[in-house]
């Protein structure tokens, strides 16, 4: 196993998609085939990375051989490896799905040319964040991610893309101001060095607040969510899947890095409760609006607004301001689990919705009666993914909510337990509507043909969302590798 460490695994997780980005620009209409080579290679890299982290613990390399703080380090702990793996499964799955819309035209078109460089650059940016250790490099990667995401949203509508861009621009400036303050305080941007160097003084707390506010705008936490439903609801289905499954998680990932790795000491009861409350508002508000939507993709998009809320429960539940509560690690792991299972389930839902649109030409819930009989496999995928979003067993979503609920009860935070239960019930309501419509009536509706092979893609993603609930102990143990210090002592 030692040989694994000599491979440039971390560098390649970023370098390979970057190379693919450049290839996609020059290879013209063959670029949609690139993923057939890059996808398996990235999956292999992710497996090797998981093996390396699993057998050797957290990894760290200095890019260019320059040690921090002068250079930039890349690193992977359990958290990084799990997210890289999630990306390595979802990205190729979505790419295979997207080849029909963005690669089947004989002549080059706007979308068939631009989608693939955007896709690979998005992958590179995501991985750069997942294995990043440098706060300024996060900034560059975030902006790369924003450019690709805004361009994909623009396929579906200019106004939605502009609205997204306005939030993203403010977010990046706020984040950058925070980075400037931290560099001025500690003369380093490396996560590890910063955590040793900084005291929670005025500049550091302000920096943390600014960076978090900026990242919240990009994660679309209530009340900064207004851009998300039109953006995710109107983009082409593969783009929506990437945006909801992975892109919003990247900025959440950096928030976790900041508060649990860079400045755990700066967590205050005020901060954790504010983030938790905003999360609770997101869960209730997003779910209620999801119920009122008439279009399937908008239901799924508002569901993302709601599900993002749960992610922020890790702040009050793992409460870093009250050191190492016994249930803290459980709450934190539950939150991360939720991010992962939501990624798979949401990608499956958006792709299934995309197939329904291809079959019917629209996604009006009222007019899709009986679609389940015409597209049984697609609706099976939808139903399976819906279980995970509702948090019903057996699914990843259930495991995540179970972990968070136990911590909430153990910590006596009944409020969050109640919000989680309410959110689960509301999810049952908003997802029951499309399911109910799909099975209604007894006739088989006329549809445009949808190949079986493409229907297996959302099904596979939905199955993974279920399996990580059934075999939860593997990712659970894995996430404990390189657990933030502030949570340690909480693991049994």
């Amino acid at each position: 196993m030692g040989a694994l460490l000599t491979l440039p695994l971390l560098e390649l997780t970023v370098g390979l998609p970057l190379a693919a980005t450049l290839l996609a620009i020059v290879s013209g209409r063959f670029s949609s085939g690139l993923v057939l080579g890059i996808g398996p290679a990235m999956l292999a890299l992710a497996v090797l990375l998981c093996l390396a982290v699993g057998s050797h613990g957290p990894l760290e390399v200095a890019v260019g051989g320059w040690a921090v703080p002068l250079g930039i380090a890349l690193g992977a702990d359990g958290l990084s490896a799990v997210f890289v793996m999630t990306g390595a499964i979802i990205m190729p799955a979505v790419a295979l799905f997207a080849r029909r819309a963005f690669g089947s035209d004989p002549a080059e078109t706007t979308q068939s040319f631009t989608f693939w460089p955007l896709f690979f650059a998005m992958w590179a940016a995501l991985n750069a964040i997942f294995v990043g250790r440098d706060l300024f490099n996060f900034y560059v990667a975030l902006e790369l991610l924003t450019l690709t995401a805004v361009a994909m949203v623009a396929y579906g509508g200019t106004a939605a893309a502009l609205r997204y861009m306005i939030f993203a621009l403010m977010g990046s400036l706020a984040y950058m101001t925070g980075v400037a303050l931290l560099y001025a305080s500690a003369a380093t941007l490396d996560i590890g060095l910063l955590s040793e160097a900084i005291e929670p003084d005025r500049a550091v707390v302000l920096a943390g607040g600014l960076m978090t506010a900026g990242l919240l705008a990009k994660t679309a936490l209530f009340p900064l969510h207004a851009w998300l439903p039109p953006a995710h609801g109107n983009a082409p289905a593969p783009a929506s899947a990437l945006l909801s499954a992975l892109v919003v998680k990247a900025s959440f990932f950096i928030i976790v890095r900041i508060w649990f790795h860079v400045m755990p000491d700066a967590q205050s009861p005020w901060l954790v409760q504010t983030l938790g409350l905003l999360g609770a508002c997101a869960v209730i508000y997003g779910s209620l609006l999801a119920i009122r939507q008439g279009r399937l993709k908008l239901v799924i998009a508002y569901s993302t607004v709601a599900q993002i809320g749960y992610l922020f429960f890790i702040f009050p539940l793992a409460d870093g301001s009250a050191f190492a509560l016994p249930w803290a690690a459980g709450a934190w792991t539950g939150g991360i689990f939720h991010a992962l299972s939501h990624a798979f389930a949401k990608a499956a839902l958006f792709l299934a919705a995309g197939l329904i649109i291809e079959a019917l030409g629209h996604d009006r819930i009222a007019d899709m009666k009986g679609i389940a009989r015409a597209l049984p496999m697609t609706m099976a995928a939808f139903g399976l993914a819906a279980l995970s979003i509702m948090g019903l067993p057996p699914s990843g979503g259930f495991m995540a909510k179970y972990l968070m609920l136990t911590s909430a009860l153990a910590g006596g935070q009944i409020f969050y337990a109640l919000v989680m239960i309410a959110g689960g019930l509301l999810a049952v309501i908003y997802l029951f509507r499309p399911l109910n419509a799909a099975f209604a009536g007894s006739h088989v509706p006329e549809i445009a043909p949808v190949p079986k092979a493409r229907q297996t893609i959302p099904l596979a993603l939905a199955l993974i969302a279920t399996i990580i609930g059934l075999a939860s102990s593997i990712p659970y143990q894995f996430l404990q590798i390189g657990l933030p210090e502030v949570l340690e002592g909480g693991t049994e």
């Binding site: 900034y139 902006e143 805004v150 200019t158 106004a159 502009l162 400036l173 950058m176 400037a180 560099y183």
Partner: protein
């Protein structure tokens, strides 16, 4: 008390950030928002650069300079996409203002 050069320019950067934030919120015209974004951006960079000049006898810190040059290029990239989006939106909607913010003209 005499302000050092570094502190003076850092405060100036903070002021520019505030001015830009005001413009970004108040001006609904999208091209003006892009402009305000750039005003804030250069304010942030001035803030970072000035704080890297707190020990003039040791010389200016080159690391923030490199970060700022990178930041300027990133800001230009975002500006270019934003401008292209604004133009496309204006051609579709007739005005470079988002529909929900289109109130009476001044």
């Amino acid at each position: 008390m005499m302000l050092s050069t570094a502190t003076l320019y850092a405060l100036c950067g903070a002021a520019m950030i505030g001015i830009g934030v005001y413009g970004f919120i108040v001006r609904a015209h999208l091209l003006r928002r892009v402009l305000a974004f750039n005003v804030i951006g250069s304010g942030v960079f001035l803030f970072l650069g000035a704080l890297g000049y707190r020990a003039p006898q040791a010389g200016a810190d080159p690391v923030p300079h490199a970060l700022i040059i990178t930041g300027i290029v990133v800001a230009l990239s975002l500006t270019a996409l934003a401008v292209a989006l604004v133009l496309k939106h204006a051609e579709e909607a007739g005005r470079a203002v988002l529909p929900e913010e289109d109130r009476e003209e001044t």
